[in-house]
């Protein structure tokens, strides 16, 4: 199946559900002249709400560049990106930052927790950024930590938690402000197999909700079973899209 056909099928399927992310003809170049590298070559992608979409492929295939663009962290060289019905081209500066803060949650490969803050304080950070009072934000974060199974660790520092626990705090942080789009970059890469499975199960159980789209970048094929759709990337393009049925809460 050629690439265009795959993408057309993917787009046609997507129309049946609310499209949280729509990418059309997205390209991204780094450098200029002889040093120019084309990281994305005309990518078309739809990400649906209520689903978990896995972006998979070998290192350097453009996965990270694509989610950076989708999350509004990077500008595309060409093409159109619409997130939650809002064209990112029309959001600039402060408005883009506010959009990200309100509607997008992030889970990073290296967790990126603030080492001096407790689990609850770390999870409360997005609420504090949005202007909520500290006590109120931490209280809300505690309930989310309970939901991810870390109710007994709310006052622990990241250094007192295992890798899996830290990633669960990062997931709580990503969900605490109830974003409509969750972007996860290699959430299991720094974890052992068991912890990786636990984190993916948690993402499926807690993060995947009606009206919320979850994008997970991974090259860990042990977790492919958790995605509703698997977008295979290669050399800056989408090679194929697989759809599969995953039981809720699995």
């Amino acid at each position: 199946m050629n690439r265009m056909t795959v993408q057309s099928i993917a787009s046609a399927t997507a129309t049946s559900l609310a499209r949280a992310v729509v990418c059309r003809g997205v390209t991204k170049d780094f450098g200029e002249g002889d040093t120019r590298v084309q990281a994305l070559r005309g990518v078309n992608l739809d990400v649906l709400g209520g689903e978990m979409t896995l972006l998979v492929g070998e290192s350097g295939c453009g996965k990270t560049t694509l989610i950076s663009i989708v999350a509004g962290l990077l500008d595309p060289t060409a093409g159109e990106v619409t997130v939650l019905g809002q064209s990112l081209r029309h959001l600039r500066g402060r408005r883009l930052v506010q959009f990200r803060g309100q509607h997008i949650g992030f889970v990073f490969q290296q967790y990126n927790l603030l080492p001096a803050l407790t689990a609850a304080e770390n999870a409360a950070v997005p609420l504090i950024i949005s202007g909520r009072k500290r006590a109120e934000a931490v209280a809300k974060a505690r309930t989310v930590l309970e939901a991810v199974g870390l109710g007994s660790k709310v006052n622990s520092l990241p250094s007192q938690l295992s890798g899996g626990q830290q990633q669960r705090v990062a997931i709580a942080r990503a969900l605490v402000h109830e974003p409509k789009l969750l972007v996860c970059d290699e959430p299991t890469a720094a974890l052992d197999a068991h912890s990786g499975q636990t984190v993916m199960q948690l993402l499926r159980r807690v993060a995947v909700q009606p009206g919320r789209a979850v994008i997970v970048v991974t090259h860990d094929n042990r977790v492919f079973g958790y995605g509703d759709r698997i977008v295979h990337m290669s050399d800056g393009t989408i090679e194929r899209v697989e759809e599969q049925t995953v039981a809720r809460g699995s």
Partner: protein
């Protein structure tokens, strides 16, 4: 976000202590060296500060500071007394006396000591010491009577109890110590002797003019500076010959003006400011280097965290606020520790009788605060730039 910034900073103990220590060291060095320089400079004016009775000092027009007093004539005294606004004016003598400490002893083994001699008004004792430790001021009316300052006494006779009745030779004349008084530490550390004016001029080689200066008070309600101007105007002499400029009158200055003039002389003519300035500058640059390098390193280590915060919706303005909060908190604590340390050092050294010149007026604290403010700004500048240009997409690069 301020509390997050503060927790980030204080959570990294090693870096936090490094930054605070760098700033504290700079503040300590700047405040301590500046206080010593000011202490030394103020000692050059201690005679003027100790003689608090008069409002005005009147001297030869060429005088710049207290140690170069040029004698005046008795006639000058009467001219000054006639100036409107002058309530009273009295003679004052300041000179040096050579002390022979063991009177009548073997000349080959005799010890000599230079000293400062103040001749104060015979009648009203204008210019007398403010605080008497031993003896009575009235005892200065006794024959050959002098009063010595406590520091000078301890300098000449260390480890001996304070006592009156000692006999000495000053410029080959007998003097008897009838009292011991307080006087500020002087720049040259010479003992200070107070005696009546008529007695003081017996100790010095006879010259045509002997009156070093005049001390005057102004009438109630009169402006001292205006009276000074009048004294200078009314004591001016007509030109020596027609066509020549008028000869200047006596120089009259208020106590504060005379203190300032003496200070400026030492600032201009000695290397005190330059020498101490070099050490103060060193403290500033070392503070900049240590605090700046450590703070930059702290920011670099937290760059990923700052990137995450940016990705999560924190604006550049608030991130800059966080960096500045961290820098100024470290600056504030470092400043407190530094000036506190300098003050404790000064207190410990001066109370242990080390004769350290140390004076820490509020201006030293303010100047040190300004220097630390600049250090903090410079230290945080590079970090702020680094954070501002940081692309939030960095958080996705493993």
């Amino acid at each position: 976000m301020s509390w997050i910034a503060i927790k980030m900073l204080t959570g990294d103990r090693a870096k936090y202590l490094g930054i605070v220590a760098g700033i504290a060291f700079a503040a300590l060095l700047i405040a301590q060296q500046a206080s010593i320089a000011i202490g030394l400079l103020m000692r050059t004016t201690s005679h003027i500060q100790d003689i608090a009775d008069p409002d005005i000092w009147i001297m030869d027009p060429n005088i710049q500071f207290i140690d170069e007093l040029k004698p005046l004539t008795e006639n000058d005294l009467y001219r000054v007394r006639g100036v409107p606004g002058v309530a009273w004016a009295v003679r004052f003598y300041k000179g040096q006396g050579r002390l022979k400490l063991d009177i009548g002893g073997d000349k080959k083994k005799a010890k000599y000591q230079q000293s400062v001699v103040f001749g104060i008004d015979d009648a009203a004792f204008v210019g007398a010491p403010r605080e008497i430790v031993l003896g009575k001021l009235a005892d200065l009316r006794r024959p050959d009577a002098v009063m010595i300052d406590e520091n000078g006494y301890r300098y000449v006779w260390p480890n001996e109890p304070l006592a009156v009745g000692r006999e000495l030779e000053m410029n080959d004349r007998r003097v008897v110590i009838v009292g011991i008084c307080k006087a500020s530490e002087t720049f040259n550390t010479f003992p200070i002797f107070y005696c009546q004016y008529h007695q003081a001029i017996r100790y010095v080689p006879q010259e045509r003019k002997v009156m070093s200066a005049m001390l005057a008070g102004v009438e109630p309600g009169a402006d001292a500076e205006e009276v000074c101007r009048r004294i200078q105007e009314q004591t001016a002499l007509r030109p020596a010959k027609p066509g020549d400029p008028a000869r200047p009158g006596l120089k009259a200055m208020t106590n504060q003006q005379f203190i300032d003039s003496t200070l400026m002389y030492f600032v201009r003519r000695t290397g005190i400011v330059v020498n101490f300035g070099i050490t103060v500058s060193l403290g500033f640059f070392v503070g900049c280097a240590v605090a700046g390098q450590t703070f930059y390193s702290f920011t670099l280590e937290n760059l990923r965290q700052f990137g995450s915060l940016k990705a999560m919706g924190l604006t550049n303005r608030r991130i800059v606020g966080m960096v500045l909060t961290q820098a100024f908190l470290a600056g504030f604590i470092g400043y407190g520790l530094g000036v506190g340390g300098a003050a404790l050092f000064g207190k410990a050294m001066t109370s242990s009788g080390s004769r350290l010149a140390f004076l820490m007026p509020w201006q030293v604290l303010a100047a040190t605060a300004a220097a630390i403010f600049v250090i903090v700004l410079l230290s945080s500048f590079v970090s702020v730039i680094k954070v501002l240009v940081l692309e939030p997409a960095v958080v996705f690069r493993g």
